[in-house]
């Protein structure tokens, strides 16, 4: 279709539009008044958007995770094959739920992931306080569908990776120079208001989102 390409580009060029320089009028971004505020804001907004949030210290991760899994009666749990928290996740699951590591291509266990797995556990690349958002960078160790297909998603976040707003995080980490094949911002469990403006959770993605925030990590 290179004929279409050239024809379209030629028509657009013939307009002779004069390129405008980058002129970005300031617009207000959220900034905290105190050091504790970003974490409180993140928690508040996530909860407003129907996520469950638990704040804990890293040494409590195993027990907290296990308590949640037992309380929610999660039986089959998909995990990554790497990532910072894999050892703790594995310890938490031992004896209370079946751990299914995502160690083969999706096609080879699609039915199981869709039908049998109750929850997926992932880490987070970071988070954004201003909007109550988790940032996920899926990759080989924690594939994309881990946070998408199972009806519950459990996300583990280190408080030290929290940024106040998205532009700050993008600029500071140089996203324009390199991002993964799929980068995700997640701000709650899946929802829809498509039927008579009535909010319902669990449209197509996870119905429940549990965020474990490690305050000392």
């Amino acid at each position: 279709m290179s004929t279409a390409r050239n024809a379209i580009l030629n028509r657009l060029r013939q307009a002779g539009a004069q390129p405008l320089p980058v002129n970005n009028p300031d617009y207000p971004l959220w900034h905290p008044d105190s050091p504790a505020e970003p974490l409180d804001k993140l928690t508040e907004l996530l909860e407003q958007n129907h996520a469950e949030v638990l704040r804990l210290n890293r040494h409590e991760l195993v027990t907290t995770l296990r308590a949640h899994i037992e309380q929610a009666a999660l039986k089959h749990i998909a995990t990554g094959t790497g990532g910072e928290f894999l050892a703790e996740i594995t310890r938490a699951l031992a004896g209370c739920a079946e751990q299914r590591p995502f160690n083969q291509p999706l096609e080879q266990w699609k039915d199981e992931l869709f039908d049998r797995v109750d929850a997926g556990i992932t880490g987070c690349h970071g988070a954004i306080a201003a909007t109550g958002t988790l940032v996920l960078w899926p990759g080989p160790a924690e594939p994309r569908t881990l946070s998408l297909v199972p009806p519950s998603h459990i996300a583990i976040l280190k408080a030290s990776t929290l940024y106040t707003n998205l532009p700050a995080m993008m600029a500071d980490q140089g996203w324009a120079k390199g991002i993964p094949t799929n980068l995700l911002l997640v701000s709650g469990p899946s929802k829809t208001a498509d039927i008579q403006q009535t909010l319902a959770y669990g449209a197509h993605g996870p119905k429940r989102l549990l965020v474990l925030i490690l305050e000392d990590a």
Partner: protein, 472 residues
């Protein structure tokens, strides 16, 4: 048979007479307006966000051809295959080729207005490929063999009882209920099966980033993620105007979009796709394609004034605040894009011949322009299109498809006479005096004018006479 813009007037009248439809739209529009208002509590902040969003869109359009080439190069470098289509037929042929080359028979689709524009579902069905809508609203619309009535909330013309009736008719095993949670679960269960079966996932694009070759998708449900993650092939389709220059342009536009559309500070998911599954990855599509569609957009682009139409980020705020849309709903327009934005973009997509009535379907109250997050001067563009529909192309101004389609000799004569009358004081005095004398001779029925108005009756004395008496 779906509605047509040529039949705007009878369609609007039918919509106005439908009490249930009007109640559904009234409720939905009030809801969306309140949400937007709550998201912009500080007028200064609102102005600043709109200034930024407008500046970005204007800059990106000013460099459009160069940015499209940059986007193409960076997408290719990321492993995304790029296709160009002049019109709907070419775009559909590209889809068909890709899907058939994989032996695909089932595609799942996330919400995409461009795919509505090219009637993709319909065309793929003809080729033996079923294409299932997976956004809840779109799924409902597809079950009812309808078209979306709003660009953000496609099924707002239906209430929950109508949705339940539709499920009862089409979904085997559905137990009738008015509980929205259970209705949504019904849709979830049907579609979940399809996500895993489909060979191909189709999506639109909210922002295509030239700098990084990234496709951004905004959604709340997760169906967009499903369509772009689970099937082996992902095909994204977008209009050529959706490209942005820098990754840093995305956050302000995203914020302007979600706040204007549904009053959300952010949507549940923001999905940034920069390539297919890599060798060491275990999921994600093995192929990603991007289809860039013109379909009349370059016509708007070559005219500096009409170029502003392409600043649109498809938030739907203009329709939510339009007194006409609120009363007649989206279907009456007979176009894919309804409401104020539809009235200024459709003439470029479909030609003025078919859409000549649309720019007149406005009271020019200006609400659309006041809420537009990228400050498209919609009322001004409506007036421009009204004029273009009435006059022949003129030198120095790019001609529009169907230009002059609404031209009428009688109307042209009336305006010429009025011009003459108002520029010759003596003639004006004479004729207005005559009008006061003949005021009782004005017939009660004046064709279309008196269908919903009383006939005008000139005053007994002219303003000049009254003023002369007063100043005596």
């Amino acid at each position: 048979m779906h509605n047509q813009p040529q039949l705007f007037h009878p369609q609007a009248e039918a919509a106005l007479a439908d009490q249930e439809l009007r109640a559904n739209f009234r409720g939905a529009m009030d809801y969306l307006r309140d949400k937007r208002q709550a998201a912009f509590t500080d007028p200064d902040e609102e102005a600043a966000i709109r200034d930024r969003a407008e500046a970005i869109r204007r800059r990106c359009l000013s460099k459009l051809p160069a940015l499209l080439e940059q986007l193409e190069a960076n997408c290719i470098a990321n492993g995304i295959r790029v296709h160009w289509a002049e019109d709907a037929a070419q775009a559909n042929a590209i889809f068909t080729d890709i899907i058939q080359s994989h032996g695909g028979t089932l595609a799942v689709k996330g919400k995409s207005m461009v795919s509505e524009e090219i009637e993709l579902n319909h065309q793929l069905t003809k080729e033996g490929i079923s294409c299932l809508e997976s956004d809840m609203g779109e799924y409902i619309v597809q079950l009812g063999d309808e078209t979306p009535s709003h660009i953000i909330m496609p099924a707002i013309h239906k209430n929950k009882r109508q949705v339940a009736d539709l499920f009862a008719e089409h979904v085997p095993g559905f137990e009738h209920t008015l509980d929205v949670d259970r209705l949504i679960q019904t849709g979830r269960n049907v579609l979940r099966q399809k996500f895993r079966e489909a060979q191909v996932g189709i999506s639109g694009v909210n922002f295509a980033v030239a700098e990084t070759g990234t496709l951004c998708l905004v959604e709340n449900e997760g169906n967009g993620r499903m369509c772009t993650t689970v099937p082996e092939v992902h095909i994204a389709v977008t209009g050529i105007e959706k490209v942005v220059e820098l990754l840093a342009d995305v956050p302000p536009l995203f914020s302007a979009l979600t706040r204007s559309a549904t009053g959300q500070a952010i949507t549940t998911y923001f999905n940034m796709i920069s390539g297919p599954r890599k060798d060491d990855e275990l999921d994600g599509p093995k192929e990603v394609h991007l289809v860039l569609l013109d379909n009349g957009r370059s016509q708007a682009f070559v005219d500096e004034e009409m170029r502003q139409t392409l600043q649109c980020i498809r938030c739907g705020a203009c329709m939510n605040h339009c007194p006409v849309y609120t009363r007649i709903g989206g279907h009456a327009y007979g176009t894919v894009y309804p409401g104020p934005i539809g009235k200024i973009i459709s003439p470029h997509l479909m030609g003025l011949e078919a859409t000549r009535e649309l720019p007149t379907a406005s009271s020019l109250c200006g609400a659309c322009g006041e809420v537009c997050p990228v400050r498209i001067p919609i009322p001004h563009l409506l007036q421009r299109l009204r004029r273009e529909a009435k006059q022949e192309p003129r030198p120095g101004v790019p001609a529009l498809r169907g230009q002059g389609a609404a031209k009428s000799k009688l109307e042209a004569f009336v305006w010429r006479s009025f011009g003459l009358l108002t520029s010759k004081p003596a003639l004006y005095r004479l004729l207005s005096w005559c009008a006061t004398r003949c005021r009782s001779l004005i017939p009660a029925k004046l064709g279309p004018w008196t269908r919903c108005r009383t006939a005008p009756k000139p005053a007994a004395r002219t303003l000049r006479v009254l003023m002369a008496e007063r100043n005596k």
